[in-house]
């Protein structure tokens, strides 16, 4: 009895630290990073520049909102890079033909959702592992966008009303960032306040247990991939509008950038834990880093190295802490050694 009480106390003391770090660690890092850049990096504090930073964060951010759902449920979607290219292309095609922005937006989003439906059905009905399904779809969707674009010719459209979505501002705040925040709020609400959100967490924690407990695992999984597609479609629309153009070669490696952002935000790759706030913060962090490195005239090539290093650094903190903890507990309790080894 006493033992359990004691272990509970130590466990909760550790847990607090863990929970704090997991929930707000990345947000703190972003805050510190922002302040440091504000005071020490020349020209960063220029309002235009700071608005640009938050604008840049949105283009990975919207898709990261969707990917957070997938990763919390213990899978991920490798096909979003190709989906992005296809959605953006079709969106631009529609807006160039019809001049109708709502129609273009709808096209981009529906394209993303359609790819999501196919992903979801292949995973839940045909039982192909998500990794393979989405990897296969990466090739298929990219192939499709090459075919639709007749060999990779990019499409252009620069109507003012359309490009406003990627380049304009509303009340002085960049439009894409507003949309990003709206997406994140919606995502946060769905994750934490709906039964769908609880299903997502429970599947990520233990999908067998979830199934036994009556969670409609297959249906939820399908919907998760549809949600990923939806937010990828929004990203695609914004990027197409930002660039005035889209081609099938858009953003190779986009899927890995998005996954990196979500994971950097504290969402566990194994599933079951994660937060929308973390994903938003991680996207901001990447945007700050890119901007600061630009302002410091860092080598464009070095930026890639820095992005990777930050990811590894952030994610190794937990492992290092775990090792230190084990070493400490080994010193205090020699008997704990066998346990920590196992």
């Amino acid at each position: 009895m006493i033992m359990t009480k004691q272990s509970k106390i130590t466990a909760s003391a550790n847990l607090d630290w863990d929970v704090l770090w997991e929930r707000y660690g990345i947000a703190m890092i972003v805050l510190i990073g922002w302040l440091a850049a504000y005071f020490f990096v020349p020209k960063f504090s220029n309002p235009d520049n700071m608005l640009n930073v938050i604008r840049q964060s949105a283009f990975v951010g919207c898709a990261a909102v969707g990917m957070t759902f997938a990763i919390i449920s213990g899978t991920f979607d490798l096909s979003i890079g190709s989906t992005l290219a296809l959605s953006a292309y079709l969106g631009l095609m529609v807006v160039a033909k019809t001049q109708s922005i709502p129609l273009a937006m709808l096209t981009s989003i529906l394209t993303g959702m359609a790819v999501g439906v196919v992903n979801g059905l292949l995973i839940t009905r045909v039982k192909i592992p998500a990794f393979i399904t989405t990897l296969g779809m990466l090739f298929i969707v990219r192939g499709l966008s090459f075919i639709i674009s007749k060999g990779g010719e990019p499409i252009r459209y620069s109507g003012k009303a359309f490009t406003w979505w990627g380049n304009g501002s509303l009340f002085g705040i960049p439009t894409p960032f507003l949309i990003f925040i709206l997406c994140a709020l919606a995502g946060w609400f769905i994750l934490t306040h709906t039964s769908f959100g609880r299903y997502v967490f429970s599947i990520g924690t233990n999908s067998n247990a979830a199934k036994v407990a009556g969670v409609p695992v297959d249906k939820t999984t399908t919907w998760i991939f549809i949600v990923v597609g939806l937010f990828t479609g929004i990203s695609a629309f914004l990027i197409g509008s930002r660039l005035y153009s889209a081609g099938p070669g858009l953003e190779p490696g986009y899927e890995l950038n998005v996954i990196a952002a979500v994971v950097l935000g504290g969402t566990r790759l194994k599933g079951g834990r994660g937060s929308m706030l973390g994903a938003v913060a991680a996207c901001l962090l990447y945007a700050i880093m890119g901007n600061v490195l630009n302002l410091l005239h860092a080598d464009a090539f070095f930026q890639r190295v820095a992005v990777g290093l930050v990811l590894l650094l952030a994610l190794s903190i937990e492992g290092i802490r775990q090792r230190l903890f084990e070493r400490a507990s080994r010193r205090v309790l020699p008997t704990a050694k066998s346990e920590s080894n196992s």
Binding site: L78, P129, R142, G151, A260, L269, V305, G308, G319
Partner: protein, 320 residues
């Protein structure tokens, strides 16, 4: 007999598919069966197969390596830049070592910093690519006139291009290693049940270092072969190689869950994709249909594997 057929289908389905596709292609276009064309197909297959063979080890141990494309480019650049200083053989060796070192760093990040392999190699994917770009300053490294490096892509032994020989040699080597050595058994043990392997005394950390070093070395070889074909290395080489390599391994029949490996399957998987790409070229199908085919093929293969109802024997029974 039925059992035998099922077992046969299970282990050799990819071979059957390769043969079928080969037959179909040779009917569709007579050029396909020309000796030169077949060598060409096999050379192209070898490029992905070599890194795929290394990747088979990683997947058999329940891990991935997403950094192989970057490693390939990095090693190609290192080797090409060293040729004027230390000659061709030494620079090829240096390239392989560079790849193995990148792999070892992957392994160390995984075991010492306890970062999951997926993330560790994802981080290294950008870092190594960036390092290669910094090293070359984004420029091409060419070796025009110095054809010594062609040893990796030319036809030196019996008129067979070196990549094919390398792919087969590495397949035999790694296949032997997996099935006959302690290291190989440990790899499979890690893949089938990591905690159990750890508890029964398998030196998991050292095994992971070994696996990732080998993956890095094979990636380096692929990268150097790729560079030697055009005698140009640059840091943008082999983008997307990581996903193609994983696709080849999965097509070949190695389970993503780990615990099992088939080198022959990986070779055949690479061959299948190369054959289809070549066939589409010969049939004048636009090049962008190739990616589509790779994807459909992969999903089709896995769908057949996953549907428990599909067995060759039931197919035969229905016909009878």
């Amino acid at each position: 007999m039925k059992n035998f057929l099922n077992k046969f289908w299970k282990s050799y389905s990819i071979a059957v598919v390769v043969l079928t596709v080969g037959l179909v292609l040779s009917f569709l276009t007579p050029r396909f069966l020309k000796f030169d064309n077949l060598l060409n197909v096999m050379t192209n297959a070898s490029l992905v197969a070599i890194v795929g063979l290394g990747m088979t080890l990683a997947i058999a141990s329940g891990n991935f390596d997403l950094s192989v494309g970057s490693t390939a480019a990095f090693a190609g650049c290192i080797a090409f830049s060293l040729v004027p200083h230390i000659g061709v053989p030494a620079s090829i060796l240096a390239g392989v070592i560079a790849g193995a070192v990148v792999g070892l760093i992957n392994g160390l990040i995984i075991t010492e910093l306890r970062v999951p392999a997926f993330i560790a190699t994802l981080g290294m994917f950008t870092i190594v690519r960036g390092a290669a770009l910094m090293y070359t300053d984004g420029k091409d490294l060419t070796l025009f006139g110095q054809t010594g490096f062609k040893v990796l892509s030319g036809e030196y032994l019996l008129g067979i291009p070196t990549p094919i020989l390398l792919a087969i040699g590495i397949a035999i080597l790694l296949g032997f290693m997996v099935s006959q050595t302690r290291f190989g058994r440990h790899i499979l043990a890690l893949g089938s049940n990591f905690p159990a392997a750890q508890r029964s005394g398998v030196p998991t950390s050292r095994i992971i270092w070994g696996i990732f070093s080998i993956v890095g070395a094979t990636a380096a070889l692929s990268g150097m072969i790729l560079s030697s074909q055009v005698l140009t290395a640059n840091a943008r080489l082999a983008t997307g190689l990581e996903l193609s390599a994983i696709a080849v391994v999965v097509l070949g029949g190695t389970a993503l869950a780990g615990g099992q490996a088939t080198m022959v399957g990986t070779l055949l998987g690479a061959l299948l994709i190369a054959m289809i790409n070549n066939g589409l070229n010969l049939l004048n199908v636009p090049i962008f249909y190739q990616e589509l085919t790779v994807g459909v093929l992969m999903l089709g293969a896995l769908a057949i594997k996953m549907s428990k109802g599909f067995k060759l024997s039931t197919l035969l029974r229905r016909q009878a």
